[in-house]
Structures are given as C-alpha cells and as structure tokens.
Symmetry: C2
C-alpha cells in the first residue's frame, strides 16, 4: 500500500518514474546492463541526456540561448557557484527565508550583498513587495518557493539585471517565463526525481563577466562546454528526471499539472480556512504556496497537535509535521502527489474537527 506522502523533499514521485527506474536498475533497455552500470559516454546514455534536456526545454518553454545542466552537489552548492560565476562587486537578494539567507551568506564571501527586502521580522509569513533592485548590482536573487513557511513568489519579476532564482521546490509546478531569468537552479528532489542531481538553466550571455579564477568544477562554462559530461554526472538521477518529464508530458504538460496543483492547494486551503481547529500562518493570502501548505492549530487547540498527527498516521498519511521553526503542520503537495491524498487529509481534518470542535 502506497502511503499518502506529504514529505517536503525528498518527496513523492510519480509511480511511472518509480516503475521505469526500478526496471532500468535491473536492466536498461534490454542492454544486459543496469542504468547504474552503463558508461556516461555511451550512445545510450547520451541519448538519455539529450532527451532529458529536450523535454525540459519543451515543457518549460526554455528559449534558445539558455543551457540546461545537470550537476551534483545540490542547490546548496549553487549558493556559492552563483556568486563565484556572477558576482563582480555587488549582488542583490530578496530574503524570504532560511534558504535565501543561506544563499546570501555564501555570496558575502565574494562581494557586497544588498538585501533589498526581508520578511524575517515576521517569521517570513509573506513575500516582500514594492522593493527596489539597485541598478548597479550584478544580479538579483530570489527563492521562488519557501518550503518551511509555505510562501511562494508566483510572478516572474521584471528587473533590469540578471534575475537568479532558486526554484528547487516549485520548478515545473506552473508556467514560468524563463526569458525573464538569467539563471534558474534547484535540487531535483521535490518535483523532478531523486536527491543528488541539481538542474541549472542558465542564459549563456550572462557568463564570463567575472575576472576571478574559478575552480573548473564550479565554473558553469566547464559544464556548458562539456554538456554536463565534464566528469561523470549523476546518471541515475538524470534518468529518473527523464521519466518524470515524460509523465508530466503524458498528463498534458505544464498547464495541466498547474491546474491540478491549484486544485489540490485550493482543496486544502479551503478546509484550513473553514475548519475551526486550524489556521494558515501565511499572513498574505496571495503569497500562499501551492507546493507547501502550512497550517497550525488555533491557540485553544494547541495541545491537540500530537493527537491529530496520530489520527493522520492511521489514514496512511506521512510527512505532515511542520518544520520546527514554524511548528504545526506542512502538507507538501508537489506535482506527483495525487489529489486523492489531499482528499484523505481533508477528510481527517474534518473527522478531527467533528470530535474536538
């Protein structure tokens, strides 16, 4: 029996991805070898890589002039690779949470960092707006979705400097105007595949403008020139991403998945708003994430948190305990989470309210 998996990441993947990757671990494509055993320089693997890139480009409508890379090290490594490659003197960051703060910390090793706005004082319960990005910065960095706080920057900002986005937790969950970005990166382990592979979508002409020497593996140009094959890439992860991209295409592409994500999130937020036991801590409704739905118990019911968690366990629900810095609950509703899982959670919330409210 599959669990109702609301994990924040690594998280639920399409059954198609699991079935195809399990099959390929035993035998890839009738080759007499596992996907774990084939050379990354073989024609077979080159075809996997080419198809993954082509499908990513097609689904996200990535314009020409951008490179698509698959690297190791996680989004956390990108926190230093971005300034290594792009920060000459000054960079601007929007502080929307822990991940944005971690990215800023790394950038400070390379130059001046301007925090254009922050919602830290309010425990990151909204996305700051009406800020000004200085015109003399080398880039402006945003985190599009904040897993811990359940907030999401849902618009593609228009700025006059390269826009860099950590989209680890909402990539391919909704249409994005990639042409507005200079660089988009993220770990695969939410909407794409297993942990251990990081995608980078980079506009080629924003590179080559810093003068510092960059270690070969940390230089985006190394990976562009070698098509992610400078060294052995995380091949299994790339293969798994390909399966997920095929699945997204099979169900109708990005607009279809976006519609499903909106429906799932709406179901859950409506219940949170309606249910007397719960409330959503995100203070500005339009900033509510469609990927991570955070909710807490109303003050008078606080002591029932564990009891509710126990009830959800009996329904096969896992991963809804909130991050310790926010408390309460977090239901991550990534692409692969079935609507049926949300319905089970909503039913549990209603059942608990009947007992307690």
């Amino acid at each position: 029996m599959r669990k109702h998996n609301f994990n924040a990441g690594p998280s639920v993947l399409p059954e198609f991805t699991l079935e195809q990757t399990a099959k390929a671990v035993l035998d890839f494509n009738g080759s007499g070898m596992s996907i774990l055993e084939i050379s990354h320089r073989s024609k077979d693997f080159e075809a996997v890589l080419a198809e993954t890139k082509a499908l990513f480009k097609e689904l996200l409508n990535i314009p020409d002039g951008y490179s698509i890379l698959f690297l190791g090290g996680g989004a956390s490594l990108q926190f230093c690779m971005v300034p290594f490659n792009l920060l000459n003197k000054k960079a601007a960051y929007l502080n929307t949470g822990v991940w944005a703060s971690k990215a800023m910390k790394e950038a400070k090793l390379f130059g001046e960092v301007v925090e254009v706005a922050s919602s830290k004082a309010d425990n990151y319960t909204y996305i700051p707006k009406n800020f000004t990005v200085p015109e003399d910065v080398d880039y402006f960095h945003v985190t599009t979705n904040n897993t811990i706080y359940g907030t999401e920057l849902k618009t593609d900002l228009s700025v006059n400097v390269p826009l860099v986005a950590d989209a680890s937790s909402d990539i391919l969950s909704r249409p994005m105007d990639v042409s507005k970005y200079g660089l988009i990166y993220g770990g695969a382990q939410k909407n794409l595949g297993p942990a251990g592979v990081t995608f980078v979508i980079v506009k080629n002409d924003i590179l080559g403008k810093v003068t510092r020497p960059i270690p070969t593996m940390l230089d985006y140009k190394t990976h562009i020139e070698n098509d992610s094959l400078f060294n052995t890439p995380p091949a299994f992860g790339i293969f798994a991403i390909l399966q997920t991209l095929k699945w997204i295409k099979s169900i109708g592409g990005i607009n279809a998945i976006y519609k499903m994500n909106l429906e799932k999130a709406a179901l859950l937020y409506e219940e949170i708003d309606r249910n007397p036991l719960f409330r959503c801590p995100v203070s500005v409704a339009e900033d509510r994430s469609i990927m991570n739905v955070c909710f807490v118990m109303n003050e008078q019911y606080k002591e029932l948190e564990n009891e509710f968690l126990e009830l959800t366990k009996t329904k096969g629900i896992v991963g809804i305990k909130g991050h310790r810095s926010v408390g309460g609950f977090r239901a991550s509703t990534y692409n692969a989470l079935p609507k049926a899982s949300v319905e089970v959670l909503v039913a549990a919330m209603q059942e608990f309210a009947k007992q307690k409210a």
Copy 2:
C-alpha cells in the same frame, strides 16, 4: 542475459546491489514509499547512513579519528575541495596521469604545487619511485590507480606530511593501511555504487589549518559536523553503496575480494603475456593495475583491432575499447566483475590467436 561488463566506470555492480536497489525503488523496507521518496532526516534514512559508515569502517579497517562523508559532485570536485581545505602555501603531487594532472591544475589556484615526480614523458606507463616529498608541504597527493594507463600504486606510502589519495578506482579492492593517509576520496561509480556520490575519508585533525574563507558546501567541517546531512545527500547512491558493502562482507570482506581480484588480473595478464597477438603497455610489471588491465595488439597485428572487438561483442563482452590516449584495449576488472567474465575474454583472445597468429 547479463553482459560481460568491462566498463571503466560507471561499471559492473554486484547483482545483489541491483536487486536490492530495484526493490527499494519500488518500496523501501515495506514503508509504502520508495527509497527515492523518504526524507533524508527520517529515522529510516539515518539508519541507512549509519550502517553504511559502520560497514565502510569495518571493511576498510578505518581507525578512530577519521570521518566518513558521502558528498555530491564527483572526485573532480574533490580536486578543488582538497586544496581549498588543506593548502596553505605549498602542496606536493605525484603525476601519474590525466587525473593527477587535473588535480594539480586545481591546486594551483590555491598555492604553490610541487610535482615530485612524473611519468608523463613515457605516457604514464609506470609509477615513479624514489622521489622525495619536501618536508614543508601541506600535503602530498597521489592517485592510487590510473584507469587510463592501467597502472596502480599498490603500497601505502609513508610520508611525513598528510597523504591525500584519489582512490576512485581501487577503493575496497585490496587492504589499505588507512592510518597512513590524511584523506582518501573517490567517486563511487567503480567499486561501490552508482555515479553521483563521492566518499571522503578524512582524518579530523588535519583540518582547520588554512585561514582562507571556505564556501560552506566546500568545507569538510560542514559535512563532518552535520554527518553528511548539511543538505540533502545523494540518498539513493548511499543506499546502493550499503548494498555493495553488504555484498563484500557476505563474500568474506576485503581479503577475500583482494584474492579474487588478484586471480582475475593474473588470468588476464598471463594470457596477454602468453598470447602472440597482444602485449601490455605498462612498462614496469609491478605497477600493473589489478583493476584496469590495459593491453594493445603487437605492431604486426595492429590492423586486427576492430576485428577482435567485433569478436568479443559476439561473446557478450562490452567496454574493452582502450582510452583514446592509449589505444588498444582496457578490461576493467572491478570487484563486482565475475571471474567467469574474465574467462570468456581470455577464451576470446585464445580463439582469435588461433585464427590469426
């Protein structure tokens, strides 16, 4: 039908590893979730990580005072992480091939690099000996096995500075006196598991001696303090490594695998030396690798190379084309390669000699 897989890496894995990982991709441990879907902060995954480290320590006899890390980015990322963390002023390197050269190139970004010896002028056909490591260097770096040239440094050197080894292609193939090393690193994709995970075994007290600021993800101390869980690690790769370690233990541990590796290599080298068509380009017999057996056709038979490759294909043999910088053939005989595969290759060499010599 499984191929006789002589790939240089990614390469053959134990069938046990493939079966266990395929099963866990569909369902991990009866959890109702895939190994790709469980949280890296769950008790289940923490148990996987702890068992992997404990078994690595047991099999390789790693002394106390060393940390075992599993990171992303490949051994190529270690080429810059090593000097980032260890190089204050000067480091010494032994140049035994392309990988050693690449490691040296990165180190030069951080300080002075002394090449203590090199076999480059002879196309790396032997391991230099009788060199002196300067006493004032911060560390001495060696590549224990050179996949491209089929040479191997089989002894654990005694030096008065921290000894750093890239052991990507011979880790766990033979006993190593880890206490002689300050740091051992390598990609998993030869003897341990899939590409995308890198092991680092580091003696804790060699760290903390450089003054430069180190980006968080490139600082070994970050990963030691967080037990490889600072960010989401390549969890699937770690799980696969655990299966391989269990397999090594099940067949008798490092001494048993070493004996098997010696037997496989001996079978092949004996045939190369005996067969009138072939010769081994490694110029010093004691430097012949037991992991990558390189051989070329004798001058008068050079034009038969492709014909021999075609013959081996009919026997289910893959991956024996030599690296373009050496030519000829390379049979990688990593831990998981069955002796039966070597016997099939030897038989093909004999059959071809009967036809042609």
